[in-house]
């Protein structure tokens, strides 16, 4: 409880710091917290309220901004202040970062970084960094050559290249400071997740769950790029870094070398469990949290067993990498559900008692609430339509599998919900301590699935799933929605149906606004309390990136989001009205005013 108060005090200070005299948003009310009906989160690492220095803004992955200049009363006046194209026509999945009056953004392949000067009208380019990754990586990336984000820390911009290298670039000069090779791209390992910085460490993981890779998560030294530790998702306890500190809360996690023994002999080494989602961190427990991908091959009959530690969450000591606990969301994952979606670290009143929790919306359609110190499962509620399980077994802590939806080799199984990409993929939700709600972009889809046996051939897909995806509601039905989720009650507060999948991240602000985008290109602001649409703007391409909001050097609040459809959203590309690709970052402000106050800076022509 002491910690809760500290968190609230910090949040309150941040809110005050952001206030401007003309702000019209109702002042934050903390009485709700005191009553214990709402939750909160630790806003560490803090930083200036007007900055946005990591993908989720904080270690807890809240994506909540204390800014409220833009609020429910004036959001209708948002107009574009400036736009920027990075020239890369692949899916734009990352959030631009803002610090030191500069915006940093990185394109999808070829992963060019840009520093934009926010002190000047139109935010001109300060520098461009071109890492020239291998084009071979394009054809090894399962789901479009995307990049889900980048990180800043210690004067460096750090991010993954698609060809399995990590680079650090000097924030001031744009010069490369170090480059570390993590894997051999020719054998199918790519890197698409957002690097995550805590202190002097960079945390990264691999992609390639469809390519028969061995999944891993690693820590590098921020100063030098030297690898400090690497933990695999499959293999021996030594490979997985399971040792004396590992506390198996449930019996299925007790035993030696389960990362080998829950697989047929020889298959764990190509069993995937890659880590390509967002990372979170609890500074008091010094634990990092991340999810692991589907097992490989995707054909389940070829790999009987629970296939530990795939489609799971790990809590690891940030300094040593030792596993402290793990929980497998989908044992023996037969539908490619993965466990990579973000872990939001929220302090919630569960059954009347404040718990330090981890909230996770899995692709398997369960919204889990776990104790983040121990991995104890506190809640598991479905947040969207699904039929692969018939319920949650609280005795075994596993979803109960519906035998009718088990995939078969050479035979089509109709209408499995959700499909491989889940009812929510990697797109990160946000949390507002003012409403106590989580705002998540989700899907409303199913698949008809035929499995084919596969062999491991290095550098080729180790896959075997042939799918036809469709709306839960049949032809012409909606493919997505935005939901406001009450994590304490375990149910929706409200939802907004959308024709297309909602694959953008969301942000929540102290102005009681939630921003999100749709894959057909609408960027929207809704009232965080009731979902009422307050503003929308059609962008050039679909939105699958993550919005941010920040204060410019002029003290004005801006909202930014990338428009560039791609990634898993491309499963909808045959739908009528699906947009073409794009590469444009949009930055909005009230009345579209920029740092020059909206006055033309160029001289007018002679009279």
């Amino acid at each position: 409880m002491v910690r809760l108060r500290i968190a609230l005090a910090i949040a309150g200070l941040m809110g005050l710091a952001a206030c401007q005299p003309n702000d019209t948003a109702s002042p934050p009310t903390h009485s709700a917290f005191a009553r214990g009906t709402h939750g909160s989160f630790n806003p560490a690492p803090g930083g200036a309220p007007g900055d946005w220095t990591s993908q989720a803004r904080d270690y807890a992955n809240s994506r909540y901004s204390p800014l409220n200049q833009i609020n429910t009363s004036n959001v209708g006046r948002l107009r574009a202040a400036w736009t920027f194209s990075d020239g890369a026509l692949y899916g734009h999945e990352g959030a631009p970062l803002v610090t030191g009056n500069t915006m940093y953004t990185v394109s999808p392949f070829p992963n060019r970084a840009f520093a934009l000067d926010l002190t000047k009208p139109g935010a001109p380019i300060k520098w461009v960094y071109d890492p020239a990754p291998s084009p071979m990586a394009i054809g090894k990336a399962c789901c479009d050559p995307v990049l889900r984000g980048w990180a800043v820390g210690d004067g460096k911009l750090v991010y993954n290249l698609l060809d399995a290298h990590v680079v650090a670039v000097d924030l001031k000069s744009g010069k490369e400071l170090w480059r570390t090779k993590m894997a051999d791209v020719s054998r199918g390992t790519t890197m698409t997740m957002a690097a995550f910085i805590v202190g002097n460490k960079v945390f990264v993981g691999n992609s390639g769950g469809e390519m028969g890779v061995a999944g891993w998560f690693a820590a590098l030294d921020l100063g030098t790029g030297k690898e400090l530790w690497r933990a695999y998702a499959t293999g021996s306890d030594k490979d997985v870094k399971i040792g004396p500190r590992f506390k198996p809360l449930y019996p299925q996690y007790a035993g030696k070398d389960l990362g080998l023994k829950t697989w047929p002999p020889g298959m764990a080494q190509h069993g995937a469990g890659s880590s390509w989602g967002f990372v979170s961190y609890d500074p008091e427990l010094n634990l990092v949290y991340y999810g692991t991908s589907n097992p490989g091959p995707r054909v389940p009959s070829q790999r009987p067993g629970d296939n530990l530690w795939t489609s799971a969450v790990f809590a690891r000591d940030a300094d040593t990498g030792e596993a402290v606990w793990a929980y497998q969301f989908t044992p023996h994952d037969q539908w490619d559900y993965d466990g990579v979606n973000e872990m939001m670290l929220l302090d919630l009143p569960i059954n009347g008692k404040l718990r330090h929790t981890l909230v996770h919306f899995d692709r398997n359609t369960y919204a889990y609430v776990l104790d983040r110190a121990t991995g104890e499962v506190l809640k598991a509620d479905t947040f969207a339509p699904q039929n692969w399980s018939t319920g949650f077994d609280w005795k075994t802590k596993r979803p109960i599998i519906n035998p009718a939806k088990i995939p078969k080799v050479g035979e089509e199984v109709k209408n499995i919900c959700p499909p491989d990409i889940g009812q929510k993929d990697w797109e990160p939700p946000s949390y507002s301590p003012r409403t106590g709600l989580i705002y998540a972009g989700i899907f409303n889809i199913c698949m008809d699935l035929t499995n084919h046996k596969v062999s491991y051939i290095a550098g080729t897909p180790y896959d075997g799933m042939e799918m036809y995806r469709h709306s839960v509601d049949g032809k012409g039905g909606d493919w997505g929605a935005l939901i406001a989720w009450d994590p304490v009650a375990g149910k929706r507060a409200w939802s907004i149906p959308e024709k297309f999948m909602v694959m953008s991240g969301t942000i929540a602000t102290a102005g009681d606004l939630v921003f999100y985008g749709t894959t057909d290109g609408w960027f929207k602001a809704v009232d965080a309390r009731n979902g009422k649409l307050l503003w929308r703007q059609k962008l050039s391409s679909g939105v699958i990136g993550q919005p941010i909001t920040y204060l410019g050097p002029d003290g004005r609040q801006y909202v930014a989001v990338a428009s560039g459809v791609g990634g898993a959203a491309m499963v909808q590309s045959a739908l009528p009205g699906f947009p073409a690709r794009g590469s444009t970052l949009y930055v909005f402000s009230v009345d579209g005013l920029d740092v020059n106050g909206g006055k033309p800076t160029a001289r007018r022509g002679a009279p």
Binding site: P135, G209, S455, R469, S573
Partner: protein, 191 residues
């Protein structure tokens, strides 16, 4: 397949390799030498090569070579089995609609859609992740794969190979609205 046939196919493959490289080097002698008359009475080598030195106007006969297996349906069927067994379907889709790799059932071919060009792409691999199967598979199997890929809906008949390079192929249809999505896109998404 009998031994002589295999030898013949292997030889054919070798000829393609040599000739597709060769056409880059062969060109019109006049252009190569760049000997040009001028109104100044000067006859000598030009400062820059002129004419069709890069072979842009003439690709030679190699790309028009038909699949030695002809349009044998058995070749297409065995090619389909290989296409799945070698994990080609994982990238290009179970019916060629694309996914991680390009679609093979439309009329867009970055490296050409005539049989000899398809063969060459499979044999050599391509820079954006396509492996080089020439090391793993004998020529006979490469031609079977070629026969299957040619049958998916976008294959260019060998006699139209050169016309296709100029965009002059008759009878093409508008590219289908990326049916890779409906078909699955395969790799999507587990990473």
């Amino acid at each position: 397949m009998r031994a002589p046939a295999i030898v013949a196919i292997a030889l054919t493959a070798a000829v393609i390799g040599a000739s597709t490289t060769g056409w880059i080097l062969s060109s019109d002698d006049h252009a190569r030498n760049g000997v040009i008359p001028t109104n100044m009475g000067y006859r000598g080598p030009a400062a820059v090569p002129l004419g069709d030195v890069a072979g842009a106007a003439s690709f030679g006969a190699a790309i028009s070579m038909p699949n030695p297996l002809g349009d044998d349906p058995m070749a297409v069927e065995s090619g389909k089995k290989l296409f799945r067994a070698m994990n080609c379907a994982g990238c290009h889709g179970y019916s060629g609609g694309g996914g991680m790799g390009p679609a093979l059932n439309d009329h867009y071919w970055r490296y050409g859609g005539a049989p000899a060009q398809i063969y060459k792409s499979i044999y050599e691999g391509r820079p954006q992740g396509m492996p080089a199967w020439g090391r793993a598979l004998p020529a006979d199997q490469l031609w079977r794969l070629t026969a299957y890929v040619s049958s998916l809906g976008g294959g260019v008949p060998p006699e139209q190979a050169e016309a296709a390079l100029h965009g002059d192929t008759a009878g093409r249809t508008v590219r289908k609205a990326q049916d890779n999505a409906a078909e699955g896109g395969n790799g999507l998404e587990g990473q």
